[in-house]
């Protein structure tokens, strides 16, 4: 569907959700390189080239970040705030992908700089459909910000 070199960063702690999301990607023929971070700290390590990702070129930013809100160590909103504060990562499109539909979460999500907010439906078919739309929009229709 899109160039393989473009990475999607999936920040998700629940292995079931990781598996189902990857399945949904597959079903939608999204063949991008998907990097999974299992908590907030890992996500930031990846983005800022620290810890396990120390040798990574931080200028090579992911095309899209799918961010869960409820995460161990650092939660989704904290991750969002940090990456928005960084010179290299502040323009990366971020789609919040979460179970919560709480008004408070929606507001703080957008306030912290989320580009989109998608609620994971219980029905897997609907989830696949949602992932389809996300991929279509953010990877194809939307023009990404230019590299810095």
């Amino acid at each position: 569907m899109v160039g393989r070199d473009e990475t999607i960063l999936l920040v998700e702690d629940n292995p079931d959700d990781i598996e189902l999301t990857m399945r949904a990607f597959r079903k939608n023929n999204i063949a991008n390189n998907v990097v999974v971070a299992h908590d907030g700290v890992e996500a930031l390590d990846y983005l800022f080239g620290r810890g396990a990702y120390a040798d990574r070129n931080i200028k090579d930013t992911p095309r899209l970040i799918l961010l869960d809100l409820k995460l161990p160590k650092l939660d989704g909103l904290q991750v969002l705030e940090r990456l928005r504060a960084d010179e290299y990562t502040k323009l990366i499109p971020v789609v919040i992908l979460t179970s919560s539909k709480e008004e408070q979460d929606l507001i703080s999500g957008y306030k912290s700089g989320a580009n989109s907010y998608v609620r994971k439906p219980v029905d897997f078919n609907k989830f696949v459909e949602a992932v389809h739309h996300i991929g279509l929009y953010w990877l194809l229709i939307n023009e990404p910000p230019p590299d810095i």
Binding site: N14, D17, S99, S100, K120, V122, D123, N125, F127
Partner: protein, 729 residues
């Protein structure tokens, strides 16, 4: 007949008529002693004349002699009357007593007796020779001794009368003197005439001219009477009045020069008569500035002058009146009337009146004040607050019964107390300081008082201080606030309790929030896994699953999706109770139309008749009211989906308080036996397969209505329809 003879007859007759005319004219001036004697005088004259005329006309000797004797009735009485007249005229009539008068008539009476008895004693006439050959008859008489006694007596009386008049002439002045002068002159006429007749000197008369001369006198007197009101004025009386009157009188002539003053005027002006005569009014009356020229047509002029008299200021009213003789003013009479006493009396009266008014006012005020005091007393006595007045040292000056009752003392005991006896909270120095500093601006504070029995209670004091006759008094209104304090304590406790419970509530809410958050987040994840992996199984292992296996996986999936919906419903319900309300007037008709339009868009093929009342409004939260109508109309929409002629109505009831709305449909309805279960969460009266739903809708409706303070009830018949009645306030 010779002309002289005619004259002899004519003149007495003329005189008689004149005398009678005078008598007639003088008659009007009666009564009065002077006029009376004048009338008698004229009667005597007239009689004399009448007798003389008859005597002379008579040809019979004895008849003539008879009338000659009759003459003496007038001849003898006339001098006496004349004398009496002059006495009275000169105001000496009162010297004449009744016996004196009788005495005067003794001699004329004797003379008359002698006249009528002359034939015997010949004391009057020695001889009477009547020669009737002439006309009128000529009598030659020789007088004897008594005649001369009579003559001398008569002359003495006539002379005395004349002397009376002369005396008057010299005593009086001005117009009176003029009158007296005329009278005096007239009185000489008969004297002279008689003297000439008796002595035979001068022209010879055949008849006695004396009565005729007296007529002249009478005419003169009458002339004076009518012309200058001679008799009426009683000059001497006026003179006496003039001299003795208290008012000052100044008479001025045409040249405005003083011609006469009375003693009162002299006394008032402190000038003697000679200093005033011949001066102008301006010279004799200090402060008199008026020109008399201007006053001539005025009868009376008045002004008030102030003069010092015996080192006291006295006020005189000045009156002026013109003396008019004929048509001309011949001078003025100026009268000075002492007005001081009247003024003083008037002032005193006025002062008294003012004083009386003041006294009345004061009395009125005293009554009003007494009433006011009574009213205040009642107010103080009836007051529910204790009232006490303290002096500046803190001693009780006055207190009301309520104050005594509050402290448990009698009123007498309280009056002996000092503020220290009851003040419990404030130290003594501070109390003294408060007494010293409190002023009319007042103060307000709470303290505690000690009763007689030692118990202490809370009071609220309103106090202020004021000065009375150099002494400061402190007014205190004391209210027993024990009950209020208790109530305040209770209120405080209740507030504390409330605070605590609201803190609990807040904590509960917080918990609830985090609970629903975790429900929404964490409960859904496993469901998603169940559903997701069931789907994965169905897709990836469909060749290894038989139909039963696939069926079970589908059930797993629908159960998990159903549970997702339930979780969402629960969250929505809890959010309703937590969200803040924004009250405003909401147009329910418009809202209902909007909702219905959306329903019809989702199922455009359905034909449902909607009846929405016009202008339905209610006060409430617009979001919540939207959810309310969505649920109620949604239910009606849902439960009429199998009815060919579906009908849904939303309106307001006409009866009752006009605040009851209703939503009515002709759908599936319900059994009233289960009506109580309608509004509980997750309670359903219909099979999900017939009418899908979570059982949250009416519970949500119930909660929204509760939050608006309203109520809801439902009526329904199975397969006939349901009606939901609700109010919002």
């Amino acid at each position: 007949m010779k002309i002289a003879d005619l004259f002899i007859i004519f003149l007495p007759v003329l005189s008689l008529f004149v005398a009678l005319a005078v008598l007639f004219r003088a008659w009007r001036y009666r009564p009065g002693h002077v006029v009376t004697s004048f009338l008698w005088l004229m009667v005597a004259i007239a009689w004399w004349l009448l007798s003389a005329i008859i005597e002379n006309m008579s040809t019979n000797v004895s008849f003539s002699i008879f009338w000659m004797k009759m003459c003496y009735l007038g001849i003898t009485t006339l001098p006496v009357i004349w004398f009496v007249f002059t006495l009275q005229y000169s105001d000496r009539g009162k010297r004449l007593t009744r016996p004196g008068m009788v005495l005067l008539f003794v001699l004329p009476a004797v003379t008359l007796i002698m006249v009528w008895t002359n034939d015997i004693n010949h004391m009057i006439w020695k001889s009477i020779v009547v020669d009737t050959s002439f006309y009128p008859s000529v009598k030659t008489v020789t007088y004897n001794a008594w005649f001369w006694v009579h003559a001398i007596y008569s002359y003495i009386l006539l002379l005395a009368g004349t002397i009376n008049l002369s005396g008057l002439f010299f005593r009086t002045s001005g117009i009176y003197r003029k009158q007296t002068g005329i009278l005096l002159l007239a009185s000489f006429t008969p004297l002279v005439a008689n003297l000439l007749f008796i002595t035979g000197i001068g022209p010879s008369f055949s008849i006695d001219p004396t009565p005729m001369a007296f007529v002249v006198t009478g005419v003169a007197i009458l002339w004076g009477l009518s012309r200058t009101q001679l008799l009426h004025m009683m000059p001497v009386a006026y003179e006496t009045i003039f001299r003795s009157m208290a008012d000052g009188v100044i008479i001025i002539d045409k040249q405005d020069l003083v011609v006469e003053t009375n003693p009162a005027a002299q006394r008032i002006l402190k000038l003697n008569k000679t200093e005033m005569i011949g001066k102008t009014l301006k010279q004799v009356i200090p402060g008199y500035e008026y020109s008399l020229e201007l006053k001539t047509d005025m009868n009376v002029t008045e002004l008030t002058i102030s003069l010092e008299q015996d080192r006291m200021e006295r006020f005189y009213n000045l009156y002026m009146s013109s003396i008019v003789t004929g048509q001309r003013s011949s001078g003025h009479i100026v009268l000075l009337h002492d007005d001081t006493e009247r003024r003083k009396a008037e002032n005193e009266f006025r002062e008294k009146a003012v004083l009386e008014t003041e006294l009345n006012e004061r009395k009125k005020m005293e009554v009003a004040l007494a009433d006011e005091v009574t009213r205040r007393r009642i107010l103080v006595d009836q007051s529910r607050d204790g009232i006490v007045i303290l002096d500046q040292d803190g001693h009780v000056y006055e207190a009301n019964q309520r104050f005594a009752d509050m402290l448990g003392y009698s009123l007498e005991e309280v009056s002996q107390l000092h503020v220290f006896d009851w003040e419990f909270l404030y130290p003594r120095e501070q109390v003294i300081e408060m007494l010293r500093t409190v002023d009319e601006k007042g103060d307000h504070f709470e303290t505690q008082h000690r009763r007689k029995d030692g118990t202490v209670f809370n009071v609220e004091i309103s106090t202020n201080g004021a000065m009375f006759a150099g002494h400061k008094l402190i007014f205190c209104v004391c209210r027993d606030i024990t009950e209020r304090k208790k109530a305040e304590e209770k209120l405080k406790q209740a507030m504390a309790d409330l605070e605590q419970s609201s803190a609990c509530l807040a904590a509960t809410n917080k918990e609830m929030e985090s609970f629903s958050y975790s429900v929404s987040h964490d409960l859904r994840s496993p469901l998603r896994s169940i559903d997701g992996f069931s789907q994965a199984l169905l897709e990836d292992y469909q060749d290894k699953l038989d139909e039963h296996g696939k069926e079970y996986l589908n059930r797993l999936r629908s159960a998990s999706q159903k549970m997702g919906e339930l979780i969402d419903g629960l969250l929505k319900l809890s959010r309703l109770t937590r969200s803040e309300m924004h009250q405003e007037i909401v147009d329910l008709s418009a809202l209902a139309e909007e909702i219905i339009t959306r329903f019809q868009e989702t199922q455009p093929k359905r034909h449902t008749k909607f009846i929405i009342g016009n202008g339905l409004t209610a006060r409430g939260d617009p979001q919540l009211l939207r959810v309310l109508l969505e649920n109620l109309l949604g239910n009606a929409w849902k439960f009429t989906m199998k009815i060919p002629q579906a009908e849904i109505e939303f309106d307001k009831l006409n009866n009752g308080n006009g605040k009851t709305f209703f939503v009515k449909d002709n759908g599936a309805g319900f059994d009233m036996a289960y009506a109580d279960k309608l509004f509980s969460a997750f309670q359903r009266l219909h099979d999900t397969t017939d009418f899908p739903g979570t059982g949250i809708g009416l519970a949500t409706v119930q909660r929204i209505i509760n939050r608006h303070g309203g109520s809801i009830r439902a009526e329904g018949v199975v397969d006939k329809g349901a009606t939901f009645y609700f109010t919002l306030e």
